[in-house]
């Protein structure tokens, strides 16, 4: 589904990603872990098409399409969804209006007729239950005045509404208390099918107690320096990142 080959990306001549290779298949959950500043969020942003980053080398293929040739909106319409680490507040734009516009532009791209008001509302209501979100959120302006936890839940709610093929969750667990974390994880698990995939970008192992990954990768200094099963995450939780850094530095020196 997603094939990344030797991906290098920079911002203002500062290279952040230094050759990432990764393959994600339908039905899989991948966790990208790593210490602060290792390039995790950059990686998520580059997949979503953030223009501040310049891809200097490498390839990204998504369902046979060259992702690097697509604008952010085209990637979204192809089925990529990024849950932001810091969701943006947009005063004046109601969540309902925004989601309807979003959903219908995606449907149009896929050659589907726009949803009528009734189908839209019933779809929304169904998805709300999934992430245990309150109806009052719908009439509020998008993320405006939301708490950190509400914003993160709203991201997962949007994911539930848009039903992406590949969801990238960028530190969705940060800033969530344990109850909210469970709700978010529960929502992600319910959305999981054999046809879609999830990339979890996280600093801590905590979230992985609730969303069990098939593969865990450690990103350090812009490279995947170690990959393994879910047990790797437990090792990291126990030992921290220092041993990874030491291993990496030993091999590079």
């Amino acid at each position: 589904m997603l094939k990344i080959k030797n991906l290098r990306a920079s911002i203002e001549d500062n290279e952040i990603l230094k050759g990432i290779t990764l393959e994600v298949n339908p039905g899989e959950v991948h966790a990208i872990m790593g210490p602060n500043g290792s390039g995790k969020s950059t990686f998520a942003s580059v997949l979503a098409g953030r223009e501040e980053f310049e891809v200097t080398q490498g390839e990204i293929w998504f369902d046979g399409k060259n992702l690097l040739e697509l604008d952010p909106e085209e990637r979204a319409r192809e089925g990529i969804f990024l849950a932001f680490q810091y969701p943006v507040e947009i005063p004046g734009v109601s969540t309902t209006n925004f989601l309807k516009t979003s959903l219908n532009q995606i449907r149009e791209y896929r050659g589907l007729a726009p949803l009528d008001a009734v189908s839209f509302i019933s779809h929304i209501k169904d998805r709300m239950k999934l992430v245990e979100i309150d109806q009052s959120l719908m009439s509020r302006a998008l993320n405006e005045g939301f708490s950190g936890g509400e914003k993160k839940r709203n991201e997962i709610f949007q994911m539930a509404v848009l039903e992406p093929r590949l969801a990238i969750l960028d530190e969705t667990d940060s800033g969530l208390d344990i109850d909210a974390l469970k709700i978010v994880a529960n929502g992600v698990n319910k959305l999981k099918t054999k046809d879609n995939a999830v990339i979890l970008v996280t600093h801590y192992q905590r979230l992985l107690n609730y969303i069990i990954p098939d593969h865990v990768h450690v990103l350090y200094q812009g490279k995947i320096v170690k990959s393994g099963s879910k047990d790797l995450a437990l090792d990291l939780e126990e030992k921290g990142y220092d041993w990874i850094k030491e291993e990496f530095n030993a091999t590079t020196v």
Binding site: A76, G92, T101, Q105
Partner: protein
């Protein structure tokens, strides 16, 4: 002798002086005196020149007619086109002026509203006119604008509207349309709006034009909002021609009165709004909302003043602008808090979005505070569309154009949302959404 002081008299406007002299021959009594006095003041001050601070970004002098002509009749062929631009509200007063001249076709001058008096100035007797002017004349404004003197010098066309004590009038729609294609055309129009004590009115001024119109239009509206009265004053300006519109508005508020003013400038080759709110008494409240769209080569200049003369008044101003293509915008917001005006609350905000490298905005808050126990704040921002917001929307599948339209819609609708009159809100929502390329609804 100070030669510099002479720079701005009327020596470059010989034909204007001639026009005045010819015009005054037909006047007598009060109007003649009033016009002559006004013209004397104008002769001393002159029209604002290129060095005039207040007109720094609005070079009216460059476009002022060289040999001005006052239109005596309008082009009747515009009538069919006008009809679609008028509001359909049947329970309202509609007054249609074309080049300053009343068009009887679409006006309902003889309203059934007993609470409202409507007088055309050229039909008032000299005594009646003198009464309205002497009763209400209040030109002691701190920012005295020479175009007001020009307006007074040619006093003839205009309307007096009076809402009687303790009454609600029907909504009033006053349309000002341009049909003239002559760039030498000079229209001076005067409106006096009187809300007697404890009355309520919504007064809507709509400035439209057809294509290929030209000329110089100099409007002056004076409103008196009596004790305990409420005025909602909407101005919508949508000028498609080349004409220049200069719009002076003075609103005098008396004890416990409330005035809400809304200024929507959708288009205009050269538009200048001087809005002055004068809080003459205590416990007045005033809201000033503005929204302007500047594109093409348009220039839209809003100068506002809130003059807090007495204690315990509240004023709140919120103006927003979207500047596109080669458009130029100006915002100047003055707040005066006089020594007597303790416990004043005065707030001002001006926010702008500039969409291109070639569009620009000059914004200047100007607060002068002589009292010590007051709360005042102001803020001005100028920026582009927020890149982070734009990216966020695009990652949700919205194309760039739609995402921008959605963000601009949100920006503009903070002001639109304040509109209390349904048909005006609908009208502006449609016009503005069209302008923004926004086609979605809640």
């Amino acid at each position: 002798m100070n030669i510099a002081a002479k720079k701005s008299d009327l020596q470059n406007h010989e034909m204007l002086v001639k026009l005045f002299e010819n015009n005054i021959l037909n006047q007598k009594g009060f109007i003649r005196n009033f016009s002559e006095e006004s013209f004397d003041i104008l002769k001393k001050s002159g029209l604002p020149g290129r060095k005039d601070e207040e007109y720094k970004y609005f070079p009216a002098f460059r476009y002022f007619p060289e040999s001005p002509v006052i239109p005596e009749e309008y082009d009747k062929s515009v009538l069919p086109d006008i009809k679609s631009e008028l509001f359909k509200n049947p329970d309202a007063i509609h007054l249609v002026f074309i080049d300053g001249i009343l068009s009887k076709d679409y006006s309902n001058l003889n309203s059934r509203d007993d609470n409202l008096e409507i007088h055309l100035m050229d039909q008032l007797s000299e005594k009646e006119l003198e009464y309205f002017f002497s009763e209400h004349l209040n030109t002691q404004n701190i920012n005295h604008d020479p175009f007001i003197d020009l307006n007074s010098s040619f006093l003839k066309k205009g309307v007096v509207l009076k809402i009687k004590k303790k009454s609600n009038s029907l909504p009033i729609y006053c349309y000002h349309l341009t049909s003239s294609k002559d760039k030498e055309s000079l229209v001076n129009f005067r409106t006096i709006l009187i809300l007697e004590d404890d009355s309520k009115a919504s007064y809507n001024e709509l400035f439209f034009s057809m294509n290929n119109t030209a000329g110089f239009e100099n409007h002056f509206t004076e409103a008196y909002v009596g004790k305990g009265s409420k005025l909602d004053y909407y101005r919508i300006q949508n000028k498609k021609g080349d004409e220049i519109l200069l719009n002076n508005v003075n609103i005098h508020q008396y004890e416990n009165s409330l005035a809400n003013t809304y200024t929507f400038s959708l288009a205009g080759r050269m538009l200048r709004n001087n809005l002055n709110i004068i809080l003459e008494d205590e416990n007045c409240e005033s809201h000033l909302y503005g929204l302007y769209f500047v594109k093409g080569k348009d220039l839209i200049d809003n100068h506002t003043t809130v003059d807090h003369k007495k204690a315990n008044c509240f004023s709140n101003e919120n103006y927003k602008g979207i500047l596109d293509e080669n458009g130029k915008g100006v915002f100047n917001g003055k707040i005066y808090v006089r020594p007597n005006a303790q416990k004043t609350n005065a707030f001002q905000s001006n926010k702008n979005i500039v969409l291109t490298d070639t569009a620009n905005i000059n914004t200047k808050p100007q607060l002068e505070i002589w009292a010590d126990d007051v709360k005042c704040s102001h803020g001005a921002t100028t920026g582009q569309i927020d890149k982070e917001q734009l990216f966020y929307l695009r990652t949700r599948g919205l194309d760039e154009k739609t995402a921008k339209a959605l963000l601009l819609h949100a920006f503009a609708f903070e002001i639109i949302d304040k509109i209390e009159i349904a048909d005006i809100k609908d009208y502006l929502t449609k016009k503005i959404n069209k302008q923004l390329g926004y086609q979605f609804s809640d």
